[in-house]
């Protein structure tokens, strides 16, 4: 019998971290206690609670983590609501990795470059994999600038890791912002696109961006005004998926399947495709 990618593996939830009121980060290993499979930053996996459904989630942990995989999941639909109700020790199913991932080893695109990460809300999840990869391979990348915003202080995902680890890393500049003034917050207040423009990032940077469509739209416009080219800016997409291997026919944007040809695209690629996402 041929190997069948549609048949998943059993994963065990070994830790659940409550990030925000509606985001939890699940740590998952195989039944043998080891990592289920290797991946490239930006790749995804199909996570399932049998009987409820299966969905595509970005693997938020870095491939340099040799012990486990993590998924940061926002509670917003049927499957994610059930996932949020699970306890440590619960088994789920996982299959993957799927998709192209970010071109982290491409010297034309990311490797050796100064990087600007722009994230909004749960959009940090796929970028966290790249950020921690870059932290662990510091010598291969230039300066790192991270602009991360969310509705409120309580909605910042990975807040502890950002404060304790990212902010403590040499040549890592982290800029946090929240949408509205809040008690106990003395940082920046305002929307991500404006903040990025205010910071006038150097035009030599490669930009990696993920967040709500409206954030992406205005940030991209702002970057272009500053002089960034579409080839320099990467994002990662998400559409409804079932197979994750380009066969079930539902996650296409034009002639590209997000699950197989994406989820990572540069904006010059997206500009040749319909804006049906």
């Amino acid at each position: 019998m041929l190997n069948e990618t549609l048949i998943p593996k059993v994963g065990v939830i070994t830790d659940i971290r409550i990030d925000t009121p509606d985001v939890k980060t699940f740590r998952v290993v195989g039944t043998d206690g080891k990592k289920l499979f290797e991946h490239i930053p930006g790749q995804c996996a199909m996570v399932s609670v049998p009987g409820v459904g299966e969905g595509m989630f970005s693997i938020t942990s870095s491939p340099t983590n040799t012990e486990f995989m993590e998924f940061s999941i926002k509670r917003c639909g049927c499957l994610t609501t059930v996932l949020h109700a699970l306890e440590e020790g619960q088994q789920i199913t996982v299959r993957g990795p799927y998709g192209n991932g970010f071109p982290v080893e491409d010297p034309e695109k990311l490797k050796g470059k100064d990087l600007l990460f722009v994230a909004g809300g749960i959009g940090l999840a796929p970028l966290r994999s790249v950020i921690n990869y870059v932290r662990d391979k510091r010598e291969n990348y230039g300066k790192v600038q991270i602009v991360y915003g969310s509705r409120s202080k309580d909605d910042l995902v990975d807040y502890k890791e950002i404060l304790d680890e990212w902010m403590a890393t040499p040549d890592f500049d982290v800029y946090l912002t929240i949408d509205r003034e809040q008690e106990g917050w003395d940082g920046h207040v305002g929307f991500v696109p404006n903040y990025v423009k205010e910071l006038t990032p150097d035009l030599g940077k490669t930009v990696l961006m993920c967040g709500p469509p409206v954030m992406i739209k205005f940030t991209l416009a702002g970057l272009k005004e500053l002089g960034f080219k579409e080839t320099q800016v990467f994002t990662t997409m998400e559409l409804r998926m079932k197979c994750a291997i380009g066969k079930c026919g539902r996650c296409n944007i034009g002639n590209k399947y997000v699950c197989k040809d994406g989820p990572v695209f540069s904006f010059d690629q997206l500009s040749e495709l319909p804006s049906e996402y």
Binding site: M1, I7, P8, G249, P274, E276
Partner: protein, 340 residues
């Protein structure tokens, strides 16, 4: 080329079915042709084609992918796949036969779909040439010759005989299985029939529709055309076209809790349905215009872009005769073709 008198067709079917499961188009209670498991008394239909396409044999409407048992916090995954048994589909028309090579380009590219692959491997396709193509037929537009079907072995019924020739190793095996019934023959009658069928084809109304618009214009030009709105206006999103289509391959994956275990199965789905792309976060295709456009863009632009310009249509005409609002791919092609 071999032949046997048509009266002895039952003997051939009996001999095949003694060795493998055999399916042939036979008239059902609705007087329409359906693929039917052959047994004594089942007669080959004279209908031009079956109501449902032949894709069911390799891509059934539902397939059990795997099962799960859950106990407390534990999950057991049960891979209950079995090797397919050998089977023969007899009487497949040229259009449906070509649909298999189109489906192959989806299911047999890496990573191979093992459910489809095992059925393909174990199925022998014996085709039957058309003699009376109808007004809804337009296979010729896609370079398909209704009078010379592909498949493992091809058959023609002419002058009271069934003529048969092998195209592949599997076809040769099929012929050797029934060789005691066959006699060698010249192909004169077959050649005469091919000419007569070609003559009919040339007179059919959709035989020469022009698809060049979809090659000459860019994806975005076609996508952004004003035609989609008008063309899709009457579409009720019933999905009939996708279900009768031999090349439509979109599927859904669902879980069903039987009470004593969970079955995960895949089932045909339709891009014409409103929830096809719906997520908790929204829907990129909010109206029927976008869903309608997706179906035709897929067949006429996206699939060709990714598969050496081969269109995802075989011109079988089922959507033409089945659509409740009389919309179809021919109207779409003609509407765009007339613009230039």
């Amino acid at each position: 080329m071999f032949r046997l008198p048509v009266e002895r067709l039952d003997e051939l079917f009996a001999m095949v079915s003694a060795a493998q499961t055999l399916y042939i188009p036979a008239d059902g209670k609705d007087s329409r042709a359906h693929y039917t498991k052959w047994e004594e008394g089942i007669k080959l239909s004279n209908a031009l084609n079956t109501v449902r396409s032949a894709k069911d044999f390799f891509f059934p409407q539902t397939t059990n992918l795997c099962d799960f048992n859950k106990k407390d916090k534990e999950i057991e995954i049960i891979d209950n796949r079995t090797e397919s048994e050998d089977f023969v589909v007899f009487g497949v028309r040229a259009c449906d036969t070509r649909s298999f090579t189109i489906l192959d380009k989806v299911f047999l590219v890496d990573p191979v779909d093992s459910y489809y692959a095992t059925r393909r491997e174990h199925g022998t396709v014996v085709t039957l040439a058309c003699t009376e193509p109808e007004e809804t037929c337009f296979c010729g537009v896609f370079g398909i010759d209704a009078a010379s079907p592909e498949g493992d072995a091809a058959c023609w019924i002419a002058d009271g005989y069934l003529y048969i020739t092998a195209n592949t190793e599997k076809g040769e095996k099929f012929i050797s299985l029934v060789s005691s019934l066959l006699e060698e023959s010249s192909d004169e009658a077959v050649e005469a029939q091919k000419k007569a069928t070609a003559e009919i084809m040339s007179r059919l109304p959709f035989n020469d529709i022009d698809t060049s618009y979809f090659r000459k214009n860019t994806l975005l030009e076609i996508f952004n055309s004003d035609h989609w709105k008008k063309l899709s206006e009457a579409c009720i999103g019933c999905g009939t076209c996708t279900f009768v289509c031999p090349t439509c391959q979109c599927y859904d994956i669902k879980d069903y809790d039987t009470g004593c275990g969970i079955k995960r199965y895949r089932t045909w789905d339709s891009c014409m349905y409103s929830d096809f792309t719906k997520t908790a976060g929204g829907n990129p295709r909010t109206s029927q215009v976008e869903r309608f456009r997706q179906r035709f863009m897929h067949k006429l632009v996206y699939f060709p872009d990714n598969n050496n310009e081969e269109f995802g249509c075989v011109g079988c005409g089922r959507c033409i005769s089945r659509c409740p609002i009389s919309m179809n791919i021919v109207k779409v092609i003609k509407t765009f073709g007339e613009v230039q």
